[in-house]
Amino acid sequence: MATATAPPQRARRPPAPPPRRPPRLRAWLGRFWHQYTRMRTAIYFLIGILCIVLIGTFVPQEFTSASQKVSEFAAAHQNLDDLATHLGLPLTSVFVSPLFYILLASLYIALLSCVLTRGRALIVRTLRGYPRTPQYWGEWGSWMFHTSFFLLVVAVVWGKATGFDGIMTITEGQRVAETQASYDTLQEGMLFDGHHSGYEVQLNRFSAPLQSNGMPSDFVSNMTVYDGGRPVLTQDVRVNEYLGYHGVDFYQQDYGWAPHMVVRNPAGEVVSDTAIQMISDDKTASTGVLKVPAFNYTLPGQSKPTQIGAKLVLYPDAQALPQVSGASNGLNFSYAPGTAAARNPVLEVQLFVGDLGLDSGASQDVFTLDTGGMTPYYSGAAAFALPLHQTTTLGLPAASGGTANFTVSFPDLRQFSLFHVKQDNGVPLVYAAFVLTMTGLLTKLYLRPFLERRRRMRKAILHPVGVAASPPGEPPPRGVGEEVLTR
C-alpha cells in the first residue's frame, strides 16, 4: 500500500505559490511535472489502483455484496476499518473512496498530459507532411487507445449524471406509471431533469418454468406498455431480454410469490384486500408480512381501534409433516418446503393483535412486523395454516361478552417481478469508447508490425540478396512492434 499512498500525496503537495523567488518554484514545479508525467509514475498509479481493486474483490462491498456480509466484516475488523477510513479508504466501499478517486484523477491527469503532448506532436507531424511510416500509424493507434479512456469517463459520468437507476416491483395484473412514486428505491443523477416518462407498464403474467432438478429454466415477465392509456408494446422480459421504451429500460432481476389475502373485520367489512410480496432465496419457502392498520374494530375497554398483523410463511408446494401428538386446537401441524412450483400452496400465518407502530409516523419496512406493541393471537405465537382458496374464521372478544368473528382468506396466489429500471444515455458513448480502444490497440499492436513486415517483404523482392529475413523458428528481430503504447 505504500506505493499506492505515496503518489497522491505527492500530487497534492504543490503549495500556493509564495510571492518571492518565483524562478525557483517554477523550476521545482517543472521538475515535479516532469516526474509526474513519467511513465514510471503512471505505473505506480496503476499499481495503487490494482491494490484497491484487490481489496474490493476480497472485502465485501456495500454496493455489490450482501449487506449482512458487509456488516459482519465491519464488526469483525472494526479497528482496521476505522484506520483505513481515516486514510481515505473505507474498506467496505473502496470503489467510491477518496483514495480511489485521487488515484484515478492522478492517473487521468498524467494521461491527459501524455495525450495532449503526443496528440500535438502527431498533428504537427501530419501537417508538415512527414512520411507516413509504420511508426507513425503505431503512434496514432497508441494515441487513440489512450484517448478512448477520456471518452469512456465522459460517457460514464454524463450517462449516470443525466439518468437514473431504480428498482420497481410489479405484481401480476398490476399496472404502474414510470414515475418516482412507483419505485422501491431510486437514485437520480445530479443533472437528471426530474421528469420521468410517466407511461405505464403492466405485468400481465410471470412464469418461471421449473426443470426436473427443481431449478427454473427461465424467468419470464410478460409486460405491456401503455402510453397515453393505449397499449403500445407487449413483450416478454427475461434476464437477457430487456424492455426498452422511450429511453427507459426494464431488466428482469428477481421475482417472488405474492399471495393475495383478504381480511374482513367483525363488522364483515373488507379491511384489507391485497397481494403481499414475499421474499425468499429459493422460492420454496418465502416470508412476508401482513399489516392491517385500518382493521376498524375496537376491543372492549379500549379507546383506540385495534390493528392486526401477521408474519407469513408461504410454501408453494407444502409437504405436510406427520402430526405431533396432543393436537388440541388444530394448530399442531407442521409443513416443510417442497418444490418451487405452486402445487400445494399453504400459508403459515402467525397472527398478532395490537398496535402495528405505524401511527407514530415512522417509516416501516414492509417485510418486518414490529410486534413490540402487539400480542400473539395464539399463546406461544403459534401459527395457523391457511391453504389456498380457504378462509379461516377467528374470534376476538366482543363488547357483549361474546366473540366477534373476523376472517382471513387466501383466495389467490400471484407472483411479482422485480425490475431494475434505468435510464443511461451514456451507453452508446461507452460503446463508442470501446470501439476506439480496440481500434487503437489493434492499430498499435498489429498494424505497425504488419506494415513493417510488408515493407521488409517489398525490400526482399526488390533486393533479394542479403536481406536477413528471420529464419523459420526464430522470432522476428527484437523491436518489431515492441516499444509499446506510450512513448
Partner: protein, 310 residues
C-alpha cells in the same frame, strides 16, 4: 447415475495422452534426445483430437455452447493451451515449453473433473449469444496469456542461469563466458559446480533470454487485445442482461485486475528499469491473477458470475 457420457470418456483419453506426453517432456529435460521430445509432442498431437471431440460431444449432449460452467470452461481453456502449444512447437520448434503447458493442461482438466457437472441446461442468465462471444474470448485470452508467463518464467530461469554461470566462471577460471553452449561447458569444466551448477547448466538448454523475452511479449501482444475485447463484450452483455455495463462484481474486478497487470507490463517494457526482470515478474503475477479470476472468484467469492456449479 447413468452411463458415463461419451464426452467424459473422450476427456479421459485426452488426459491419458497428455499425462504420457508430460512424462516424455520430463524425461527430455535430463536426456536431451530429439526423439523423446518428438514422441512427447506426438502424444499431445494424439490427445488433441480427443480433446476437441470431447468438447464437441459435450456441446451436443448439453445442447448449448460448451462454456456454461466451470467444468466446460476449464476444459475449454486447457484446449486453448494445448492447441497453442502444438502450434508453437510445430511452427517454431519450441519443445521445453511443453513442460509448463502440459502441467497446466492436465491441472486444469483435473480441476474440471473434480468440479464435473453432467451435461444439462444452462442457468437462465446464460441464455444468450453473448455467452459465446464473451466467454469464448475470455477463455481464449486466458489460454494465450498463460504462455507469456511461461516464457517469462523461462526467461527468468535463463537469466539466473546465465548470471550463475558468469559468476562461477568469473570466480573460477576467469575465462570469458559467452552465451550458448560455451557457458555450460565452462561450468561443467570449471570446478564441479554442485547441484546449483548442474541446474544452471541445464537451464542453458533453454533458448537465449532475448528470444524468450520476445516470445513472452508476443503472447501478451496476442492475448491482451483478446482479453480487452472479452471484458468489453462482458460489459455489453452486462448492460444487455442486467442494465449495467460495469458493477465491480468480483469477477469483473478480477478481470480488470488482470487487464491492468498486463497493461502495466506493456508500459513497463518501455520504462527504464522495468524492462526485463520486472516486466517478466509482472506476467507471472498476471498468471496468478488469471487463475484467481478463474477459480477463487467463482468458488469462494459469491457474485453475479457464480455459475460455476450450475
Amino acid at each position: 447415475m447413468n452411463d458415463t457420457p461419451l464426452s467424459l470418456t473422450l476427456f479421459g483419453v485426452a488426459v491419458a495422452f497428455y499425462v504420457a506426453a508430460l512424462i516424455g517432456f520430463f524425461v527430455y529435460i535430463p536426456i536431451r534426445r530429439r526423439r523423446i521430445a518428438d514422441t512427447a509432442l506426438g502424444l499431445v498431437a494424439l490427445a488433441w483430437p480427443f480433446h476437441l471431440a470431447s468438447i464437441l460431444t459435450r456441446a451436443i449432449e448439453a445442447g448449448h455452447w460448451p462454456l456454461g460452467n466451470i467444468y466446460e470452461y476449464s476444459t475449454g481453456i486447457s484446449f486453448v493451451i494445448a492447441t497453442t502449444f502444438l502450434v508453437i512447437s510445430l511452427r517454431a520448434g519450441q519443445r521445453l515449453i511443453g513442460v509448463p503447458a502440459m502441467i497446466l493442461t492436465i491441472g486444469l482438466m483435473a480441476v474440471a473433473y473434480m468440479l464435473y457437472v453432467p451435461p444439462g441446461n444452462l442457468v437462465p442468465a446464460l441464455h444468450s449469444y453473448w455467452l459465446t462471444i464473451h466467454v469464448t474470448s475470455m477463455a481464449t485470452a486466458s489460454g494465450l496469456l498463460v504462455f507469456s508467463s511461461f516464457f517469462a518464467m523461462f526467461f527468468l530461469a535463463r537469466r539466473w542461469g546465465d548470471g550463475y554461470a558468469l559468476a562461477t566462471a568469473g570466480a573460477g577460471s576467469g575465462g570469458a563466458v559467452v552465451s550458448g553452449g560455451g557457458g555450460a561447458a565452462v561450468i561443467r569444466g570449471g570446478g564441479g559446480g554442485g547441484p546449483m551448477g548442474s541446474l544452471a547448466g541445464s537451464l542453458r538448454h533453454l533458448p537465449p533470454a532475448t528470444t524468450l523475452d520476445s516470445w513472452s511479449f508476443r503472447f501478451v501482444m496476442i492475448g491482451f487485445p483478446v482479453w480487452t475485447f472479452g471484458v468489453m463484450m462482458g460489459a455489453v452483455w452486462g448492460e444487455h442482461a442486467w442494465g449495467r455495463y460495469w458493477g465491480w462484481d468480483p469477477k469483473e474486478t478480477f478481470s480488470f485486475i488482470v487487464w491492468v497487470v498486463f497493461a502495466i507490463y506493456l508500459h513497463a517494457r518501455v520504462t527504464y528499469g522495468w524492462r526485463e526482470t520486472r516486466a517478466a515478474l509482472i506476467t507471472v503475477i498476471g498468471l496468478v491473477a488469471i487463475f484467481a479470476d478463474l477459480y477463487a472468484v467463482n468458488l469462494w467469492i459469491a457474485g453475479l458470475h457464480s455459475y460455476a456449479r450450475a
